[in-house]
C-alpha cells in the first residue's frame, strides 16, 4: 500500500509539475464530454416536451405554408413565429365537433420584451396545469397572465400594467408599441420549467381589438409581409390546438381540415419527425464532440510523449535507483489515466452542473423543462469512448516508457 501511495505521490507531483499541459489535457476531454452531456439534456427536454404536448394537444391547425416543425415550435414551444392567419370559425367548428373534447384558440402577434404574448382564453391557461397566484380567467380583454420567468425578469407582479409590442421578436424597425391598449397583470403562473414560463397570456379578443382598430400607425413605419402576418384583425387566429377523445380521430380530422389556407398537424406524428430532427442534431453535436475527443486524445498522447522525452533524465534516475521498468511504465500510464479520468469527471460535472445551475434560463431558452442530471443516449458511449481512448494513449505511452533504455537515452541528451 505504501508503494502505491509513493507511486501516486510521484504521479501527482509530475502532473503538478506540468500543470499547464495537464490542465489543457483535462479541459480538452471535459469540453468534449460536456458538449455531449448538454446536447443530450437539451434534446431530451425538447423531445419530452414535444412528446407530452403531442399527447396533450394531438391536433393543431395553423396557416398554410408553415411546416409541422414551425407550427410546433411556435404553438408549443413559443420559440418561432407563426407563419400566417386562419379564420376564427376553424376554432368554432372544432370546438363544436363531437370528436373534439377541447379546443383552444391561439393568436400570436405581439410580444412583451423578448417574450411572446399568446392570445387565447382562460381555459387554455388553466389547461397548462400550473399552480398560480391571482386570476387566470382572462375574462377581460385587458387582463393578462404572466409566466414565472416573464414576471421575474420584467419585475412585474399582480396589478402591474404593460403594453404589448407588435411583432414576435422581429427587427426593431418592424416593432412598435401598442400604446393604446394597456394590459393589467391579473395572474402569475408558478414556475413549471416549460415554455409557459417565458410567455404572457391575454385574451385573443384583446389581440383583435388592438389590431383591428386600436392602432393607427404612421405612414411607412412597419409594412410588408411580416407585419401583415401579425396583423390579426377580427376573426383571425394563428392556430387552434385541439384534443380528441380517441387518438385515431386525429387522422379523420386531419383529412377534413386539410383545405386551402390551412395546415393540419398530427402532433404525435410530427413529434416523431421532430425528434428525428433533434436526434440528427444530437448526432452531429456528438460527432463533433467525438472529434474533439480524438483531438484531446492526440493532444494527451503528444503531451505525454513529449513529457516522456523531457523527463528522460528523471526516469533514468529512477531506473538507476533500482525502480523497475514496470513501475516506471505504470507511473506513465497512471499519469495519462488520471488526466483522462479527471477530464471525464470534470466533463460530467460541467455537462450536468451548468444545466443544473441554469436550468430555468436554459428551460426558458429552449421552451422545455430541463432535467440536468439526465444522461443522454450518447453520453455513456462518449464517456466509455473517452476512457478507452485514454487507456489506449496510456498504453502507447506505457509501452514506449517500458521499451526505452532510459539510461542510454538520457545519456544522449
Amino acid at each position: 500500500m505504501r508503494k502505491v501511495n509513493a507511486l501516486l505521490t510521484l504521479v501527482f507531483a509530475s502532473l503538478k509539475g506540468r500543470l499547464f499541459a495537464t490542465t489543457v489535457s483535462i479541459l480538452a476531454v471535459a469540453a468534449a464530454l460536456a458538449v455531449v452531456a448538454v446536447t443530450g439534456i437539451v434534446s431530451f427536454a425538447i423531445a419530452k416536451q414535444a412528446f407530452e404536448s403531442g399527447q396533450k394537444y394531438p391536433f393543431i391547425v395553423a396557416a398554410e405554408g408553415a411546416s409541422e416543425t414551425q407550427i410546433i415550435l411556435s404553438t408549443i414551444f413559443h420559440i418561432d413565429k407563426p407563419r400566417g392567419k386562419i379564420p376564427f370559425d376553424t376554432y368554432e367548428s372544432l370546438k363544436k365537433d363531437p370528436r373534439v373534447t377541447t379546443a383552444f384558440p391561439i393568436a400570436m402577434a405581439d410580444s412583451i420584451g423578448v417574450f411572446p404574448i399568446i392570445g387565447t382564453d382562460g381555459a387554455f391557461v388553466k389547461d397548462i396545469g400550473a399552480t398560480y397566484r391571482g386570476d387566470i380567467a382572462l375574462a377581460d380583454p385587458h387582463d393578462a397572465v404572466l409566466g414565472a420567468t416573464v414576471a421575474r425578469q420584467l419585475l412585474m407582479d399582480i396589478g402591474a400594467e404593460f403594453t404589448g409590442t407588435h411583432g414576435m421578436g422581429g427587427s426593431a424597425d418592424e416593432a412598435h408599441e401598442h400604446a393604446g391598449h394597456t394590459y393589467t397583470v391579473k395572474g402569475i403562473l408558478d414556475p413549471t420549467g416549460g415554455p409557459e414560463d417565458a410567455a404572457a397570456y391575454t385574451s385573443y379578443k384583446a389581440v383583435w381589438a388592438i389590431h383591428a382598430h386600436g392602432e393607427h400607425h404612421e405612414e411607412g413605419d412597419h409594412h410588408g409581409e411580416d407585419h401583415d402576418r401579425y396583423h390579426l384583425s377580427d376573426g383571425m387566429l394563428t392556430a387552434v390546438m385541439a384534443r380528441t377523445a380517441n387518438p385515431v380521430q386525429v387522422f379523420d380530422l386531419q383529412q377534413e381540415y386539410s383545405r386551402p389556407g390551412l395546415t393540419t398537424v398530427n402532433t404525435a406524428n410530427a413529434v416523431r419527425s421532430f425528434q428525428k430532427y433533434f436526434n440528427t442534431a444530437g448526432l452531429v453535436a456528438t460527432f463533433f464532440a467525438g472529434l474533439t475527443l480524438l483531438i484531446a486524445a492526440a493532444l494527451i498522447l503528444a503531451i505525454t510523449l513529449m513529457a516522456l522525452d523531457a523527463r528522460l533524465r528523471e526516469l533514468a534516475l529512477l531506473r538507476i535507483l533500482g525502480i523497475g521498468r514496470g513501475a516506471i511504465a505504470l507511473l506513465i500510464m497512471l499519469e495519462t489515466l488520471i488526466v483522462t479520468v479527471a477530464g471525464v469527471l470534470l466533463g460530467f460535472l460541467l455537462g450536468h452542473g451548468i444545466p443544473a445551475l441554469f436550468a430555468k434560463a436554459i428551460g426558458a431558452l429552449v421552451g422545455a423543462s430541463i432535467e440536468p442530471w439526465h444522461i443522454g443516449a450518447n453520453e455513456l458511449p462518449a464517456i466509455i469512448g473517452a476512457l478507452l481512448l485514454g487507456q489506449a494513449v496510456a498504453l502507447i505511452a506505457m509501452l514506449r516508457a517500458y521499451h526505452m533504455n532510459l539510461v542510454e537515452e538520457s545519456g544522449k541528451n
Binding site: L10, A13, K16, E314, V407
Partner: protein, 225 residues
C-alpha cells in the same frame, strides 16, 4: 561487500554505426569496505563501468560477482532489486526529481523500492539531511536550493539505507568549497563499511590512498589487495 570483476568487456554502437569498445578486459577482486578509485579521461567509460558494477547494464562478456551473487546471471528485475537494496549512487549532477520536495526526493525512491517504512525512512532522512546541514529545507523543492545543497540531498538519498556499495561519480564537481568538503567527508567516512567506487578529479581525494585503482581507457590496474 566483496566484488569480483572477471574479464569485463562492454562495447556500444556509436552514432555512425561503428561498434566502439568502452570497457576492455577488466578484472579485479575488491574486498568489502574497499575504496576503489576509477580513473580515466573524459569518455573513457567511467559511467559505463559504474552501470556495469551496479547491474544496470550487462557486460558483453565477463562476470561480476557481489559476495555470493553472480550479478551477470540475474534477470533485469533481480538486478533492479539487488541494486535498490545494495547500491547508493552519487552523481556529478545531482539528479534530483524536480517535482518532489527535498524530503520526498530522499525518501520516496526508497519506499517505491521497498527499502523500509515511510515513517522510519523519513526520520532517518531528516537526521541525515540535518547532519549534512540542510535540515531546514525539507519541504523545499530542488530549484529552491543551491548547487551544493542539492548535492547534499543526493548524498543523503544515496546513504539513507546504508548500502553496501557506494558509487560516486565526480560527486564534488561544480560544488563550492564548503559543500565539496561536506560531501567528500560523507563519502570517505563510509570506507570500511561500504565498498566505495569513486571517480573524481577533486584534489581533496588525492590525499587518500585507494585500495584499488581501476584505470579506464585501455589499462587495468592489477588487484592490489
Amino acid at each position: 561487500m566483496r566484488i569480483v570483476l572477471n574479464g569485463l568487456e562492454k562495447s556500444f554502437l556509436d552514432p555512425s554505426g561503428n561498434r566502439r569498445r568502452v570497457i576492455s578486459a577488466i578484472s579485479a577482486d575488491i574486498a568489502p569496505g574497499a575504496l576503489v578509485a576509477v580513473t580515466g579521461p573524459s569518455g573513457a567509460g567511467k559511467t559505463t563501468f559504474f552501470n556495469l558494477v551496479s547491474g544496470l547494464f550487462l557486460p558483453d562478456s565477463g562476470t561480476i560477482t557481489a559476495d555470493k551473487t553472480e550479478l551477470t546471471a540475474l534477470s533485469e528485475r533481480e538486478r533492479d532489486r539487488w541494486r535498490a537494496k545494495e547500491v547508493g549512487y552519487i552523481f556529478q549532477t545531482f539528479n534530483l526529481l524536480s517535482d518532489l520536495s527535498i524530503i520526498d526526493n530522499v525518501v520516496l525512491p526508497h519506499i517505491l523500492i521497498g527499502n523500509g517504512a515511510k515513517g522510519d525512512l523519513e526520520k532517518r532522512a531528516e537526521e541525515s539531511l540535518t547532519a549534512l546541514g540542510i535540515g531546514d529545507h525539507l519541504r523545499k523543492y530542488p530549484h529552491q536550493l543551491s548547487v551544493g545543497q542539492r548535492q547534499r540531498v543526493a548524498v543523503a538519498r544515496a546513504l539513507l539505507v546504508s548500502p553496501r556499495i557506494i558509487i560516486a561519480d565526480e560527486p564534488t564537481a561544480n560544488l563550492d568549497d564548503a559543500s565539496a568538503r561536506i560531501v567528500a567527508d560523507a563519502i570517505l567516512t563510509l570506507r570500511g563499511r561500504s565498498t566505495v567506487f569513486l571517480a573524481s578529479h577533486d584534489g581533496r581525494f588525492n590525499a587518500v590512498k585507494p585500495d584499488h585503482t581501476i584505470a579506464l581507457g585501455g589499462e587495468v590496474s592489477p588487484c592490489v589487495r
